[in-house]
């Protein structure tokens, strides 16, 4: 078994022992946190429904294939597999849309295929850039955001290209 196969139980045990050592009511914390997880599913589910409906429409109409064909030269230039383009396009805009599109791609190509792994690494190492920038700066009352958006987008693009490379190597 790979080392990561022991990861979850080891983490669960480690944190549990630490919590018990500090007299934290471990089991209530687990249940209360689990409740928050349920709330999270409840908030995300409507967004998943709307977005996967749109994704399915895009695929059935042939629009997804058309977009992919138009943008694949640019993607290849960066070493990004054209199959992952739907995720690359939506990732900076919406977290739940990225989850929907990523799940769709992983299901279509298989979670352990090269495309499936690339998609997973992309999702794990990038963020909802536009959302984050707007929430943070709006909350702090900043209007002149200067180079924050271009710098964050350069980070995203680097992440997508690196994910394409690393998913193949590691």
């Amino acid at each position: 078994m790979a080392l990561t196969g022991y990861l979850i139980p080891a983490l669960l045990l480690g944190v549990s022992v630490l919590a018990l050592g500090r007299r934290v009511d471990l089991y209530s914390a687990l249940l209360e946190g689990g409740q928050r997880g349920l709330e999270l599913v409840k908030t995300v589910l409507p967004a998943l429904v709307m977005l996967l409906t749109a994704v399915e429409l895009l695929r059935a109409s042939g629009a997804a294939a058309l977009l992919t064909r138009l943008l694949s030269p640019a993607a290849r230039l960066l070493g990004i597999p054209p199959e992952t383009l739907p995720l690359v396009l939506i990732r900076p805009l919406s977290g739940s849309a990225a989850l929907a599109v990523g799940a769709d791609l992983m299901a279509a190509y298989g979670p352990d295929s090269l495309i499936g792994r690339t998609v997973a690494v992309m999702m794990g190492s990038t963020e909802t850039t536009f959302y984050t920038v707007s929430v943070y700066f709006a909350a702090a009352g900043v209007k002149r955001t200067r180079y924050a958006v271009p710098a964050a987008l350069i980070a995203d693009l680097t992440g997508f290209a690196a994910a394409s490379l690393l998913a193949r190597l590691l």
């Binding site: 790979a2 990561t4 990861l7 979850i8 669960l12 630490l18 919590a19 500090r22 934290v24 914390a29 687990l30 249940l31 946190g33 349920l38 599913v41 589910l45 429904v49 749109a54 994704v55 399915e56 429409l57 895009l58 695929r59 059935a60 109409s61 042939g62 629009a63 919406s94 989850l99 929907a100 799940a103 992983m106 979670p111 352990d112 499936g116 792994r117 997973a120 690494v121 999702m123 794990g124 909802t128 920038v133 943070y136 700066f137 702090a140 900043v142 209007k143 200067r146 180079y147 924050a148 710098a151 964050a152 980070a155 693009l157 680097t158 992440g159 690196a162 690393l166 998913a167 590691l170």
Partner: protein, 191 residues
């Protein structure tokens, strides 16, 4: 609001494409997509609940606060002005550790607190270099445990959902490095 336009655009684009070409039955596709979303939601629920429970234990046992103290010297170097204020540095450390541990819900309020503190230091409605750096750090997602993605892989039948970890870590480092590097270059162009 932006998502409203994007969603309408996606649906409109599909309809135009289907009318122009020979698309399949779009009504059937729409309903199938909606149904699959619920299947996805249900298959993710178990691991999301487990990880939310795990992260609350992390919080209550003081592990997150401890990790935050470890990071203070490093962050002090990246944000020298902000580090002069103890409270701002504290929020900053909290924000970065919450991101590292994948506690998105805890990360955002702490990040905003740190950003407000920096804004109080610099004044005005212009983002200082350190404010831009903080935002870049938050958009580049440095995560030790990408639990949602792993949950998704697991629900789709991956043999080892966590075997992407080394790739995710390296990839995050590259993207944060590129973001901070770009920020250092671009600051001269945007006074």
């Amino acid at each position: 609001m932006a998502m409203s336009y994007i969603w309408a655009l996606l649906v409109g684009l599909s309809l135009v494409c289907a009318l122009a070409g020979d698309g399949g039955d779009l009504s059937r596709a729409a309903l199938a997509g909606a149904g699959r979303a619920v299947e996805l939601g249900i298959s993710l629920t178990g691991s999301l609940c487990l990880w939310s429970g795990f992260s609350l234990v992390l919080e209550r046992s003081g592990l997150r606060a401890g990790l935050g103290r470890l990071l203070a010297p490093l962050l002090g170097r990246l944000f020298p002005k902000a580090a002069r204020d103890e409270a701002v540095l504290g929020a900053l450390c909290g924000n970065v550790t919450a991101n590292l541990l994948g506690l998105g819900n805890a990360a955002t309020p702490l990040g905003i607190e740190a950003l407000r503190g920096m804004q109080a230091q610099s004044g005005g409605d212009r983002a200082s270099d350190e404010m831009c750096r903080l935002v870049v750090l938050n958009t580049a997602s440095v995560q030790l445990l990408p639990t949602t993605v792993a949950a998704l892989r697991g629900s789709l039948g991956s043999a080892a959902p966590f075997d992407i970890l080394p790739a995710v870590w390296l990839c995050s480092l590259f993207s944060v490095g590129a973001g901070l590097g770009a920020a250092a270059l671009l600051r001269r162009l945007w006074p």
